[in-house]
Structures are given as C-alpha cells and as structure tokens.
Symmetry: C2
Subunit: 349 residues, 2 copies
C-alpha cells in the first residue's frame, strides 16, 4: 500500500463498502461506523465490531507482559461498543500463532484477556486458530441494547452542538513514546534505569493509559439510555483523524479550541506543553469518547454526569466550514490531519 | 508451539474454553462446534463463526489469482454455516495488509470475495484493517435459522447411526500437492508446461476442488429443515481428524469401511489408488459434510436427496470402540490420525 499514497484507510473502507452488496434490513448501520447494528426480535438490537492487534504494528515482542496484551486486545474492541452505548456480551477470537510462541506465554495472554472478559461480562463463544509468522489477536465482539435504546452513531451531530471528550488526551501516545525510549512496565509500575521519581510517577500514568486503556462502557451506556448525545465515537486514531470522521458521517464541520483541549498533566511533565498539545490533537489510542451534545441537552449532561466527566472542546459548524482549530490568539486555522492511518503507519508525533 | 508437541489444536481449544467465563443463555452452542449458536427473539437463532486465511500457511504468494483467494476466504467460512444448516447473512472482514501489496491486487481479492458474497447473499456489514508483515484475511460470518429450525451439531450421533459424506474425498489435498509441484490455475484451467491432456483434465478437477471449494449450503439447509441428520460437521482438516471430533462431541466411537470411501477418480488418475486412499482419509480442505443419520431416517434421506448425494462410509459405534478402520480384508484397525493440525502444520500426505 505504501507505494500508493493516494489510498488512505478511509478511502479503502469506502471502496470496500461499494464492492460488496448493500445490506438491507435488519441491518441498521452497515460499514463506516464504530460497529454494525442489527435489529433482532422486537425492539432489540445487536451490535458487532472487530479489531486486531498485530505484533510489529500494535505492539512489539517483549514490550509488555503478555497479560496486558490480552487485556488490551479485548479493551480496544470494548471501546467500539462503548462508543455506541452497547452492553458487551460475547466474543469470537481469531489467534495467529507463530511457531516460536511458547505455550505458557500464550496462556498468559489469554489469561489477561479472560480477566478483562470477566470484569466486563463478556463470554467467549467461538474462534479459530492458525499458524502464522507473527503473533496477532483478532477479536469480534457482539454487544446488545435493551429494547428501545438506540445506538449512539457517528452521524447525527448538528450545527451548534457542543463537542466534548471524556477525559484528557495524548497520554497513550506519550506512553508509546516511552516504550520506544526504553521504559518498561514491570511488577505493576513503570521502570527505566536511572529515571527520577517525578518522571517515574508521570511514566506510571501514561504507560497505564497506553497499556491498559479503560473502555468507557458506563459512560457510553448512560449517554445512549438517556439520549444525551446527538453523535459519538471513540478516539482510537487521534482527534485530528477521528473528528473529521464524525463530521463526515454527520455532514457537518467543526471548530476545536486549542485552549480547551484537556492536556494530560503527566504528558506536560514528560514532554512540555507544546508537545502535549500535539499529542492531544494527533496522538492515537486514547479510547476516550468524542461526543456531540445539543445545547438544549447540555444541562442534562451536567446534571447526570459527575462534573468534568465530559469536557467541551469546541462546537459543530456547517459542513462547508471544514474542521477548524481556534488558536490561543483567537485565530482560526484548518486542522491538519496527522492521526494514525492503518495503511501508512508512520508515527506522526 | 512446535517446541511443545504435547499441545495440539484440539487441546488448546479445550484449554481456551476453560479459561473464559462460561456463556449462559441465550448462547446454546459455545466453543467447540463449527459455529456458536445464539437464540434471538422468539424461536429464531443466529450462528457465528470465524476462519482465517494466512499467506505462507493457507496459500502462498502468487500461487493463484487474487480473486480465488477472496472467494475461498469466504467459502471456508460459509462451509461452517453449511455444516450447521444455517442461511448465511452477514460478514465482518479483518484485513491484514503487507506494505508490498498493491491496491489493484487487493481489489482483485476483494472482488472475488464480493462475487461469492453476492452469489450466497452475504452482506459485508463491518470489519477492520491493519498493516501486517504477511497478508491475511480473517472473516466472521453470521447466519440465521428460520424459527423452529434447529442447527445441526457435532453432538447428537448415536450408536448404530450411519456415517455419510457428501461427495468424494481427497481432491483438495491433491490439488494442493499439484500447486506444490508447479501446477497453476490460469485463465480458467489447470496448467503445467509439458503436461499430458489426461493429466491436465484430472488436474483441472482437483485444482478446482482446492481453489474453489463449494460450501454445501443447500444440503446443510435441507438436512436441518427436515431433521434428517443426528449430527453433522464439515470436513476441513481431513476425515481422520474431523471424525474423531464429531465422535468426541457425541460421546461415541465409529467404524469407517475403507472399501466404502468415495475416492476421487481424478486423484486415482494422478496419484494411484493407494495414495488416493491416503488422501481420502487424511487430506484436508474437502469441505464436504460429514453426517450421522439414524437407520430409521435413511429411507427419508434417500427419498429427499438425489441418489448418491450422501454416501455411507461407516457406522457409529459405542465410545469405548474408539475410531476404527475396516480394511478390505475385513480386519479392523485403529484409525491413525494424520489430518491437519493448525498448530503443527506439517503436511502429512
């Protein structure tokens, strides 16, 4: 793919969607959202999503304890369900097993996945396994909605809506940077020879955000049940790449205020404010929810959720405005896209 | 894994099933059958399965036109649904894309998959893509049953049942052998420089069986709707490996008659009778259905299906008998297992 830079991930997804037959009912949401939605029985809905973790792409050999690998492989899928407000139910696991992988190591990976599965009440109902050159975990997750509850979709944001995120941004990308620079996670703590106490405390936080992301299941569920959001998605590839996806699906534009971006204090400690801003805009794998809320619902959001649970970062604009970034001087720029493209996996930040 | 020969694929699957929380209702069939079964609404059921195709394991680079790769990736999943008698409905596609893969080649693969999807009325409803060292296609397929129709399972075979297969065995493994020895599929026909007309005719057939397997969807559906079978599965890893799986799930043994094995005439032409027998017993990827039928239902099977559609190859025995092979001299042996183990992918035949 890298020979053909015209093709990005989003182009390819659109192309694939056109090649295949268009699904009719009971499919409500086909390709292009965080997960597919299927109506079953009377009023009930199932939601299906799939996500991979590949050695050499999403993790490196030996860069973390195996149990954290299994945990994250499940969590990134859970995050897609959280983005829709679904309750996770079942999983199918495809294992790609290299010949050099030892059985105890595989069992540790699976053990980590099983602990997360138990915590989030997910049952493994099937799967498959194959030999492979590199280790990969590919999960398909199925979630459900109570009758009458409608999934949160990327489409639905309207001009004037507030744009909110469910926590600080950029820590996961900072954690990845630390792994690249020799930090490791050992016996429940960040470790690097010769590191200061202050750096270790900050590293603890960002490594945790990178290695053990917490899918926002409770938040997604309440947003869906109370119909608080007009649109939502999870932030997996960076705000600068994901916000345009939500806007494209909704046929709108957006303006993000640089001064409102919830920087992560630990990232500021480790890399300085300028870098922290870059990571907040373009860093991937935060797995926060990105939510659009009508002005008329904002009071309900503030009442129902703990203060600061969702933080406003901007507003929805008409589509022709594109995606704008308002700098601290009050000047508006076009938001550059540097987020993670799965076909051109060059770390931008 | 290969360092730890104690662990086979089946062992690992059982181990995985024990690590994860046990699924309760509405899951009717968890890990261990061809697909998982989920009750939805009133009387309806969904069935979910997943299967991978990995470069260097299931195919080699350049060994076939891309469209045949896409076609087979879907067909092997459809075969799991056929084995249960389900109607295929929807698919999720996980793509693992190496940097050297050119976009036209990928579109050819997807085009082949889309043609099969259209023919079998499958809609793609989601998926994911990632960079990867090697090309792999991982599909999750969802099928459905009409209200009241129960899936065909591996469990359910009873002592005295007839064992039948839905066609000749061994051709796909022979096709793989031909690919290994330089045969190729070009413009709709088998090709090898200097090959005789007779060999080319036989090669045409076995390569087609290997490259374009036909999932037995119509047969599976009628077996389920008419409740003709007491147990069923598809033959993906070879009779000698798959029959014991059906027997284990049913808590029974079996006796296969060597003289009754439906050899493939083209395989006999290409490799001689002895080899054809070996391939019929141990060769993988035939994607025929293996079916157990009560003696009292045999007449109904013969009435409802065209003559020879299902061919008897043996009988179900009590569990303590194990899996026996009756040779042409009337002597009974223990059936040796040489079929395909995905953790020890050494071609046995």
């Amino acid at each position: 793919m890298s020979r053909d830079p015209v093709w990005g991930e989003d182009d390819l997804v659109r192309r694939i969607a056109r090649i295949f037959p268009i699904p009719g009912p009971p499919i409500e949401v086909p390709i292009g959202d965080d997960a597919a939605v299927l109506r079953v029985g009377t009023g009930g809905r199932l939601v299906l999503t799939t996500d991979q973790m590949v050695q050499g792409v999403h993790f490196r050999r030996g860069d973390r304890p195996g149990r954290l690998l299994g945990d994250k492989a499940l969590s990134v899928n859970l995050s897609d369900l959280a983005a829709m407000g679904a309750t996770p139910r079942w999983a199918l696991l495809s294992l790609f097993l290299p010949p050099r992988l030892r059985m105890p190591d595989l069992l540790e990976i699976l053990g980590g996945m099983a602990r997360r599965a138990k915590r989030c009440r997910v049952s493994l109902i099937g799967g498959n396994l194959t030999a492979s050159k590199t280790l990969a975990l590919d999960l398909t997750l199925i979630g459900s909605f109570p009758p009458g509850v409608r999934p949160l979709l990327r489409r639905g944001a309207k001009v004037g809506d507030f744009i909110l995120v469910s926590g600080s941004l950029g820590a996961s990308a900072m954690g990845l940077r630390l792994l690249d620079s020799g930090w490791r996670w050992r016996s429940g703590s960040a470790f690097k020879r010769g590191a200061s106490k202050k750096a270790t405390r900050a590293a603890n936080h960002v490594l945790r955000r990178h290695l053990m992301p917490e899918p926002e299941l409770a938040l997604g569920s309440i947003l869906a049940r109370r119909r608080l959001a007009s649109a939502a998605m999870d932030l997996s590839d960076g705000l600068s790449r994901d916000l345009p996806r939500l806007c494209r699906a909704s046929g709108v534009g957006a303006r993000v205020e640089l001064a409102a971006l919830p920087l992560d204090p630990a990232v500021v400690t480790l890399a300085g404010k300028e870098d922290a801003l870059r990571l907040a805009l373009h860093g991937g794998e935060d797995y926060r929810l990105l939510v659009a809320v009508r002005p008329s619902r904002l009071a309900a959001v503030e009442k129902l959720l703990p203060r600061g649970r969702l933080r406003p970062i901007g507003r929805i604009l008409p589509g022709k405005a594109g995606i704008r970034l308002l700098d601290s001087g009050g000047k508006s720029h076009r938001l550059p896209v540097f987020g993670y493209d799965h076909l051109h996996p060059v770390r931008p930040v």
